[in-house]
């Protein structure tokens, strides 16, 4: 029971990382109709710069700030130079151009930081444990990640639904020409939205760095999982991103923890381990297939192309 609770919390923490990625990606898609494969590269930039800044300054908060800022700046530069030209192209062009960006960024970090993976420590003031239930200690850093994720998503909701900028963003999503005609600088607005999505990716990168090897190509593993989240939740929907991210995070974590044991109940131990491990790495894709078979547009998806 106590292990189960711990695993569920781990799942939520992983889900929060996915949520930060998915909300940025889905925001960009919902508003600019752009599919950005290089979103994973922004995650990677955040993790690398965060880990490096932490190593130099010794302060986790400075590392966090540096990682987020680096991702945001990289994202906005990317938007202004290249992405902006892709809004009116079809999705194939967007995929191929951002695929080129991935190759570029993956090689760039190898040039700057070398081929050895970096590692990042959790800060001392968050490396203890918190007793979440009597007899269940849980690492405080992981709890902090969950808390930050929830706070950021609440902030995102307020920003989009309750502020003037958010109103313009929503208006831009439903009619680009109209809002431009009303005198809103839509180019700037798009750059800001893209930069905001990049911020979220950078934040996810820094917060996930202590659990991962910070290395070239790390962005794509998380990017593909983020796609699964978005497909399950419904593209362009923040609510869908929340539901999808938590579902994927928990199913993936629980699957890895329990499926091998579950199969050991009726299979010989050797093959149970193999089958269990294979199936647990496929669990979320099976989940995706099941959701799609019932609701092709995703759990919260509307009619988007």
């Amino acid at each position: 029971m106590q292990l189960l609770l711990e695993q569920v919390l781990n799942g939520l923490q992983f889900g929060v990382t996915l949520l930060l990625m998915a909300s940025g990606l889905t925001l960009v898609f919902g508003i600019m109709r752009l599919i950005n494969l290089a979103h994973g590269s922004l995650f990677m930039v955040g993790a690398y710069v965060g880990a490096t800044a932490l190593a130099y300054t010794g302060s986790f908060l400075l590392g966090l700030a540096a990682g987020v800022a680096a991702a945001a700046l990289t994202g906005m530069a990317m938007e202004a130079l290249i992405i902006r030209r892709l809004y009116r192209r079809d999705h194939l062009d967007q995929v191929l151009a951002t695929f080129g960006l991935i190759l570029f960024f993956n090689e760039l970090v190898r040039v700057v930081w070398g081929r050895q993976p970096l590692s990042m420590d959790t800060p001392a003031w968050l490396s203890g444990h918190v007793t979440v239930l009597p007899g269940v200690p849980y690492p405080s850093f992981r709890l902090a990640v969950i808390a930050v994720g929830v706070a950021v998503i609440a902030l995102l909701y307020v920003l989009i639904m309750r502020t003037r900028v958010g109103m313009r963003i929503r208006a831009g999503a439903s009619n680009r020409e109209m809002i431009a005609a009303l005198g809103v600088n839509i180019r700037l607005l798009y750059t800001l939205v893209f930069g905001f999505g990049a911020c979220l990716a950078g934040l996810a990168g820094v917060m996930a760095a202590p659990f991962l090897a910070v290395q070239s190509g790390m962005g794509e593993d998380i990017l593909i999982l983020t796609f699964v989240v978005i497909v399950i939740g419904g593209i362009g929907s923040i609510r869908g991103a929340v539901a999808g991210a938590l579902l994927v995070g928990v199913v993936d974590t629980l699957g890895r923890a329990y499926l091998p044991d579950l199969f050991a109940l009726w299979l010989p131990p050797a093959s149970a381990g193999t089958v269990g491990t294979a199936l647990s790495s496929m669990a979320i894709y099976v989940l995706m297939a099941a959701v799609l078979a019932i609701r092709p547009q995703g759990l919260f998806g509307g009619a988007h192309d």
Partner: protein
């Protein structure tokens, strides 16, 4: 394409003649490695041509073709491993090293998986389709990574190449001509297909799905058929690559492999069938040139791709046939 201008047709003749004459030329200048390289381009061109059938003619942007490629390769690898180890695969059958058995089986396995992926993913379109095909390819990738019986992350070495009707395929030049022959045969087949009624319906659904529905066509069966054919042919390319490398590994199924097929189609020219052959050769030449200059060649290749997307929309074949933009 029958409608291609003379210049483009001439260029294609030159390209194919060049590929056909490559082994004697390579032998003459004493560089047999060229044949190995060109063989890779031929196999990748085949996979990309299969992708062009659905991406160019159906506007179904599959980001998961590496799965079909890898499944084809693993079918050959697994059958061969069972023969060598003498362990029954299923129903007391020990596998086979015979290409006439293994390659059709590779195509069948890829086709079956394509049917499964197609049935689910073709209910959606656009970005969804891209993401779902990618995710399903990743699923197969993780499956093979976690199968220790077949090498897991490290992959499988083929003990021997397949035999074709009992004839060993060990000869480098002979195998190269076999691959080239397969490529040309598939090209002829697909050219007929896209100009047939089936191909016209597929292109009609690309241009205006609503109108096709009003004319009484349901897009789904046409798209699914094209998707399965494309998957099967990519599986055949996989069977060839397994023999070419004498090694299969999950690396054949990575997302970047799928991306590479798309890049080849783009560089060569979308919806042209022959374009992917240009694209495969061009990408290979580009890679080899960049590798000889710097180990960080992807730092250059990435921006080149971005520029190609932004300013070189018709690809090489498009430029040759004076078709600058996309159809």
């Amino acid at each position: 394409m029958t409608s291609a201008p003379l210049r483009a047709r001439l260029a294609t003749v030159v390209l194919l003649a060049g590929l056909a004459l490559l082994p004697p030329v390579a032998a003459m200048i004493g560089d047999p490695y060229l044949v190995t390289l060109a063989n890779r381009a031929v196999i990748y061109g085949l996979a990309a041509m299969a992708l062009d059938l659905i991406m160019g003619y159906g506007r179904l942007v599959s980001f998961g073709h590496a799965a079909f490629f890898g499944l084809g390769a693993y079918t050959v690898g697994i059958l061969s491993t069972h023969v060598m180890q003498g362990i029954p695969l299923a129903f007391g059958w020990n596998g086979s090293n015979e290409a006439l058995i293994a390659w059709p089986l590779a195509m069948a396995v890829s086709a079956a998986y394509a049917a499964f992926v197609g049935v689910i993913s073709l209910r959606t379109s656009g970005v969804y389709f891209i993401m779902i095909t990618l995710a399903f390819a990743q699923m197969v990738y993780y499956l093979f990574v976690s199968l220790p019986a077949y090498g897991g992350q490290d992959g499988l070495s083929l003990w021997l190449r397949n035999t074709a009707a009992g004839v060993a395929l060990d000869d480098r030049t002979g195998f190269y001509y076999l691959c080239l022959g397969v490529l040309v045969a598939v090209w002829a087949l697909l050219t007929r297909m896209v100009n047939s009624r089936f191909g016209r319906v597929l292109q009609g659904c690309r241009e205006n799905e609503r109108r096709m529905r009003a004319l009484g066509f349901r897009p789904m069966p046409y798209r699914l058929t094209a998707f399965v054919i494309s998957g099967a042919l990519t599986g055949l390319a996989g069977a060839l690559v397994a023999n070419h490398q004498e090694f299969v590994s999950p690396a054949l199924m990575t997302w970047s492999q799928s991306g590479q097929f798309m890049v080849i189609v783009l560089l060569g020219g979308l919806a042209s069938l022959v374009g992917p052959i240009y694209g495969a050769v061009a990408l290979l030449v580009l890679e080899e040139t960049l590798v000889s200059v710097t180990q960080h060649w992807q730092l250059v290749l990435g921006p080149v791709l971005v520029l190609a997307v932004l300013f070189f929309r018709g690809g090489l074949y498009g430029a040759l046939s004076g078709r600058g933009g996309r159809q």
